[in-house]
Each structure stands twice: as C-alpha cells, then as structure tokens.
Amino acid sequence: MSKFRKVILTTALLVAGGWAAAQSTAYPGVGRLATTKEVAAWDIDVRPDFKGLPAGSGSVEKGQDVWEAKCAHCHGVFGESNEVFSPLIGGTTADDIKSGNVANLKRADFPGRTTLMKVATVSTLWDYINRAMPWTAPKSLKPDEVYAVTAYLLSLANVVPDDFVLSDKNIADVQKRMPNRNGMTTKHAMWPGKEFNGASKADTANVACMKDCIPEAKVASMLPDYARNAHGNLADQNRLVGQQHGANTATPENKAAMAGAVAISSTVAKPAAKAVDPALALLAKNTCTACHAQDRKVVGPSFNDIAKKYPGKADYLAGKIKSGGSGVWGPIPMPTQGASDMDIKTIANWLAAGAAK
C-alpha cells in the first residue's frame, strides 16, 4: 500500500487502540527512523485483506504475453508443467468455484496438487509473484504486469473470463471465486499461540507403554532390492570407523544375508513373500528408473501417474516406450528406448494393469 495510506491507518490505530508499549529509551543511539522512501522500497507485502496492494490493473491478454516471455519456460504455457516446479493450474472445477472447496483434494488417487487447488487467498498469488518471480529476476515485474500475470493464471483456472482485467478495484470480487477459498482450517494444536482458537490438545495420544505393548511387530514396508543403491553407495556416506560402518550398496546384498532373511520371517512378515512383478526388474535393467519413479515425477512422469492415465492401454504404452516422444507429460522428450520387444511388452502390461509395486 502507499505510504500515505499506511500513515493514515497507523495514526487511526494510534488514536483508537492506545499504545501498549512505551517506546524504549534504554538503548540510546541504536537504530534510526526509517524514512518514508526506505519503507516504501521494502514494505511490499500484500495481506489477505489487500492491505499493501498497490493500485493498478492488468488484462488476461497482457498477462499471457508476459507469461510466455518470462514464466512459461519453467511453468509451461498453461501453468501445467511439472518439469521444474509443481504445476500451478489444473484439478479445479466450476463446482469448486461455487463451493469454495476443491473436491479433488479429498481424492487420495488424484495425482498431484496444483497451486490453484490449494491456495485460498488471491492476495498470496499477487504477493508472491510480485516479490519472488520470475525465478531468475525476482521483483522485476511492474505492478500492472503482476496484475496481468495473476489475471492470466486465474483465467487458466476459469476463475475469471478470458477478457478480464484484474485491478485493485475488483480483486476482492475475484477472491469470492477462488476455488479453495473455504479450504483452510486452523482447528489444530500446532500454532504457537492462542490467536486462532485452535485445538488445545494434540491430535495424537500415544502412551508410554513399557511391556507387552503390541503383538509381534511385522514389517509392513521396506525398500525393494532394486532401490538398494538409489541414493549412492551408503558405504561412502558413513565414517570410516565406528561401531557400525556403511553398507556397501554398490553390490547386491550378499546371498548369505538372504539366509538370514529367511530366519527373520519367523518374527516379521517377509517382504519377499509378496509376488514381485518381473516388470520391476526390467525397469532397472533398462534404466527406466533413471527418469521415472514409482510415485513421484523425476524427469518423466511417475509409473503410478502413467498407470492412472492409461489403464488397460498396454499396446499404446508399448508403442510409446518403443518410439519415445514428448508433449504428453511435458516438453522434455523421452528418447527411443532400446529395450527388447519382450521387455517393453512386459513393462507396458505392468503399467496398463496399474503399476503395482
């Protein structure tokens, strides 16, 4: 906000609220008055009630120009890119705009959460674009450009129409259409104060039982063998001396160890008891895992996401794996894969069947 408005506001508060703390005189000579110019240069934050928002406006159309020049290479032309940062746009519906709650956030199977699915406050978008974007030249956008880029993003999520001009005058109306505006709660015990009237008790209540607390413990989750060296050789990540050393993960775990694992099964569930799909071994063998992970995007999409997008489409997937390509998941191309037809078929069938681990 302009310094002028702020002074007025501060004065009003001064008169209305009284002053709880007297100005300290205990440290003479330390600190000086910040000038109006200095405060204006740094006080750039915009609050949810739009305090701090400078006057100005920008159209969706102008926003698209700015976007394509300065933003699209990281975020994609439509804010959809998952390549450098998480996607900004996607996953919101017209119903969400009505209700103020993004329905897809309830779905455990919905892949990814975009910024527009999460953010409740349009002020947050304006503030952050203004202070920290573009990535390599933060604070270089003029206020009207920030309005324009914000308008463009909101238009991609159908919060505003394509011919919209966003301004300080109508931004409060736009707030009323934010898809997840009612999606926040402060009913929890993790805020270090009483300002939000949150919960007084933590949401978990374990007890410090000491004896016979549970039946036998079963191992429910551990890393698969093919991930053994995924974080590099762990022997190189531990001190050379000590009561333990690092495991040499550059080589497969030795077979004698597996004899041990059989014995383990008497006390814990044996992870190997689950049938392991042969495709999993092929993913490592054909270096698919260099760019794809099971449950998160690396360079390419996750196996889970692919499986969700193409259920039952084994032939299509086999073709895609063989020929490579780009554009479906983002602009980074996947090169033609040299795997055997048999391997490709196995992997494609596994993906089409749900990519079960």
Partner: protein, 456 residues
Amino acid sequence: MTTPDGIQSGRIQKAPENFLDRDGIRTVLTESKAGRRSFIRSAFAAAAASAAAPMALAQGNPVPSEGGDPNILNLPEHATGLGQGVASNGGYGVPSKFESNVQRRQSPGLTQTTQASVSFAPLQSLFGIVTPSGLHFERHHQGWWDIDPSKHRFMINGMVKTPKVFTMDEIMRLPSVSRFHFIECGANTAVEWGNVAVPTVQYTHGMISCSEFTGVPLITLLEIAGADLKNGKFILAEGGDGSSMTRTIPMSLITSGEVLVAYGQNGEMLRPENGYPLRLVVPGVQGVSWVKYLRRIEVGDMPYAAKDEAVHYMDLMPDGQHRQYTNIQECKSVVTTPSGGQVLLDKGFYNITGLAWSGRGKIQKVDVSVDGGRNWRQARLETPVLSKALTRFNIDWVWDGKPAIIQSRATDETGFVQPTYKHLRAARGTRSIYHNNAIQSWLVQENGEVKNVQVS
C-alpha cells in the same frame, strides 16, 4: 569406499588376504564350535563375495600371526616424524581428510533445481547435540547468497511508533543472548508418510540441526521501535534474498523473549547457507519461519497468508481441508546409530544412541525398543537437556545376532508421547506431507545390515 590413500586403520582390512589368514580361520572355527553358525556362514560368504563386503570386517581385532598388530609394531610416520605447523589451512581449520564421507547430501530426484532444494545433515555420523555449522542442513527457496554485512540493513515497520532501521553494527551493540535450539524443516521425514522411501537416517531425518545461536531478542528491537504489542497480534518476517520469504509469527511468542534476531551460530557468525549475516530464530517452530537474510519485521493485526503458509507448509487432511499455520514441531526422536544403511560388525555390545526433541519444551524421557515396539527400556539422557533443543540419548544393547527392530519413543515435558505411524495416519491420513513425527523403525538383519522399515 572413498578411502584416501594409504588408509589401513580401524577395522578396515584388506580382504580377502587378511580375512582368510590363518588366525582368521582359526577364529571362525572356534566360533563355529561355539555355535555361531549363522553368523559364520555370512562371514565366509561375504569374504568370498567381495573384497569390500561388510562382513569381511566382522572379525574385530584379532591378533595377527606375527604376534602383534603392525599398526603397533611398526611405528607410523606421525610418531617418528615432524608434524605440521600452526595456522595452516589458511587460518581456518577443516575436518580430517579421513572424514570426507561425512557430508550433507541431496536426496536424488527430490527436486529439479539446486536453488529451491534441500540438503540433509549426516545424523548417522554426529555426536552430542550440536550440528557442526558446515554440516547444518540446508533449505533454500531461491538460492543462497554471501551478503556483505556492512551493507545489510534490518527494518521494523507497521504498527510501531517509529519505523526503524538498524545496521549490523547497531544490532551487535545490543545485549545479546546465546541459546541452543533445534531447527527442523516442517517437511522432515515427509517422504515416509505412506511407506518407506529412503534408506538412511540422513534422508529420513536429516532436515534437523541444532546450534548455539547468538543474537538479540526480537522483543528488544520491537520495543525500540515502540511496537503496539497489544493490537499488533502478529508479525511478518521477511528475507532479503530473491525469494524474500515471508512468514507470520504470533506476537505472544515474541513477547515471551524466545524469538531471536540472530547473527551467531556455534561461536562464529552464521554460515551464508544459514542466513548470514542475520536470521530469525523461532524456537520450537518449523524451519521455514526462521527467515534467513532477515531484512524486515512488520507488526500487524492479522496473519499474512504468505506463499509458504498458503500454498506450501499446510497439512492436507483426509477430508480435503488444509490445516493452515501448523508451525510447532511436535515431540519426535530417532535412533541415529545403528540406523539404516549401516552394518553391525559383530555380535556383542553396542551403544544405541539417538536424538530427541520437542517444539513444546524439554524432553522428559526416551524409551528404546529392540523388538519393534513390544517391550521398551528407558534410555539415559545426556546433559544438557534444554528446552526446544536436541537431546542426546543412549542405551546399552548386546546384540545376539538375531533380527531386531530398533525404535525410540520420546516424551516431552508436557506429557506428550511421540506417536506411531498408526496414530498419525488415523489422525491425518497419509497425504499431509508435513510434520511427520512418527516413531522410526530400523531392522537389524542377521547379516548385520540395518534397513529402514515401517512396522504394522
């Protein structure tokens, strides 16, 4: 193994020659008669499989056939020659070259840029409660800078009588305090909400560090500016870097005197990666609030919904609602040795050790289980036990060579007991990303390898 030239020390032995020497075989045969078969099988197999195989190290420290350890019998160069002079290394000491494995590391595939990323502290190799500054975990939102302190300014504005500007010289003139506190990223252990995802404690828990911070209580600076402490219920802290990261903090925490504007870390200035020359210290609160390169505090009467409290650092619940302004790091602990990716060298005595902490105060006790949570014993707490700081615990353990699942469970001074995954998932599901303070399980296999596991 990254072994600097000429290392033959400790239990690192050249195999297979050293392993299969006459005494080694004799030892194995003796142990075989004593009934330690499973161990021996793996020991032999390991020796055969690879020169660097971990179990080749399992002989401990036998007497070599020549009647003595060459490391004793043949005086080394450092006992027979002249060492190096003072003030070498350019006047700033560095760790031994043999410690080069002890590094902060990125988790492969976690982020696409190194500037909006994280590196994890090597908890498996640390002692006590202080994190060496060069191993402190890093979290940058737009890259780090080494800022000229003579040009750095700190401003206070908003609901204050007089907006103020301070130089570093002025801040460092004010009465200072030095306090030990942990800083933990809200996303520490985030990748493990659903299942095991990473192999070692560095990657599961390495977004925590603990330092002695030196600085000025923020309340002192606010009083100098004449802040409205009654109506100014919130402050906004803002960084001076490209991201100019902002976070809302309640005034009630500041009036308690706990929040510091800090310039010191472990006796020297902050490291650039940790916010040199000025950062906020918000004890008990997740790291994102400890704004680095701190340039401004604004006093206000409502929360700010900054990007990192309105898009990220919110906890998604199963009903689709996000818990916003979840700041406190609840009570948590982890065994750091033995831990995932390590190998126990032999049966026998071990000191199980680890770290415990709570954003709500001091650690009251830590219990340790070696049977996956069925039975527990109370661990010894090392002193000092400080509020909102790491606390080191230890407990004796004699490993019988059988599979074991090691866990630790901390209780803080409010009586809150660290939850299991079952508790956490029942309350929050598996998609909330942040604030995973579940009890960690490490499976010690019969071959000595330790694996990250989750138990049901």
